[in-house]
């Protein structure tokens, strides 16, 4: 009787543990070995390279990058002064800036790491039924002392998320699409959506995201898969 009882319980707890592990991190976990060896305290965000047709994308994403990184515990260099410093040195395009040798960046700014952002999509796609504003970006964090990549990721956000397409039939849909188009072009909707993209890309504490920095109370408490 005793034997019969213990075996299933062992199986049960195994099942329960696997449920717990599966719930918190479903994706394949990111390899944080280099990140943990480097433990950067300060991040230099370079003006993002823009692959979208909207010229606002670079400065929109650049200005949206400070809040998530600083709130994750990093010192973030003042993006306006950094941009001016590059301009004064004849570097006016993000592509030029992204190809500056890391030793030079380290020398001028003294930063532990640099963040290279590429904006893949930025803006509104017009369609009869539903127009959508989408901002997609990729980021890569590079250690300026060793040159190694500490982290890389991508994120997207869209105005169509969670929008309710039911009710009102086709006419209702058309009216809503027309109204949304007006709102989205008039009010620099890309910049609104970019805030969400940036938070998803650059906040610590997200699955496969960056780790918390030294100024956060969560510093060194993350990035370890549960159970290890």
């Amino acid at each position: 009787m005793k034997k019969l009882f213990t075996k299933p319980v062992g199986l049960c707890s195994l099942l329960a543990i696997s449920l717990l592990l599966g719930g918190c991190a479903t994706q394949k976990p990111y390899d944080y070995t280099a990140f943990k060896e480097s433990r950067p305290a300060s991040i230099l965000v370079l003006p993002p390279v823009n692959n979208s047709p909207d010229i606002n994308a670079t400065y929109s994403m650049l200005s949206r990058s400070t809040i998530p990184l600083a709130e994750s515990g990093y010192y973030v260099y003042p993006v306006t002064l950094v941009d001016e410093t590059f301009k004064q040195n004849g570097l006016t395009t993000p592509a030029d800036i992204h190809s500056v040798p890391i030793a030079k960046l380290r020398e001028i700014f003294g930063a532990d790491a640099a963040l290279y952002i590429n904006v893949k999509q930025y803006g509104t796609t017009y369609a009869v039924i539903a127009s959508e504003t989408r901002v997609t970006a990729e980021g890569k964090l590079v250690d300026l002392r060793s040159g190694s990549t500490l982290w890389a990721g991508s994120a997207t956000a869209s105005s169509a998320e969670g929008s309710n397409n039911s009710g009102g039939g086709l006419v209702g849909l058309l009216v809503r699409a027309a109204i949304r188009q007006i709102i989205e072009t008039v009010s620099d909707q890309g910049h609104t959506i970019a805030a969400q993209t940036s938070v998803r890309l650059l906040s610590a504490g997200r699955p496969n995201g960056i780790l918390y920095g030294p100024r956060s109370p969560m510093y060194q408490k993350d990035g370890t898969p549960p159970g290890r």
């Binding site: 049960c12 717990l20 918190c24 600083a70 003042p78 410093t85 504490g205 956060s216």
Partner: protein
């Protein structure tokens, strides 16, 4: 049957316990913001887009500083330095330097860059 029910019960109990632990260790909970931001972010965007009327921006950021102080909160990284840049544009080199030093004092991580900026501005004089 009895075993199955006890299995479900123990799994459930374990799950509830684990949930509590996960919540307590911060997997779900959201910490308080580290900084008081005010409208600093939109100020940055405005400056980068070329809206350069420094007087207005200076007033706005000095207000953010005051608000942060009255709430007992700290201003975010880069804000003092950006304010210094704006003062520099209006020709107030004393306040340019003062705000850059404030950035360094609050965030020693900025030391080498602040040195670089001060050296550059002295060269330009």
């Amino acid at each position: 049957m009895l075993i199955t029910r006890s299995c479900i019960l123990s799994t459930l109990r374990f799950a509830i316990g684990s949930l509590a632990i996960v919540w307590l260790t911060g997997c779900v909970s959201r910490p308080q913001p580290l900084y008081y931001w005010g409208n600093y972010e939109s100020q940055q965007y405005g400056y980068l887009k070329g809206n350069k009327s420094p007087e207005e921006a200076i007033q706005s950021l000095e207000n953010v500083k005051e608000e942060a102080k009255s709430k007992g909160k700290t201003i975010p990284p880069g804000m003092s330095a950006h304010l210094g840049l704006l003062y520099g544009l209006t020709g107030r080199s004393d306040l340019f330097e003062q705000n850059l030093q404030a950035e360094r004092l609050q965030f020693p991580e900025s030391s080498s860059y602040i040195d670089f900026l001060l050296k550059q501005s002295n060269k330009a004089k």
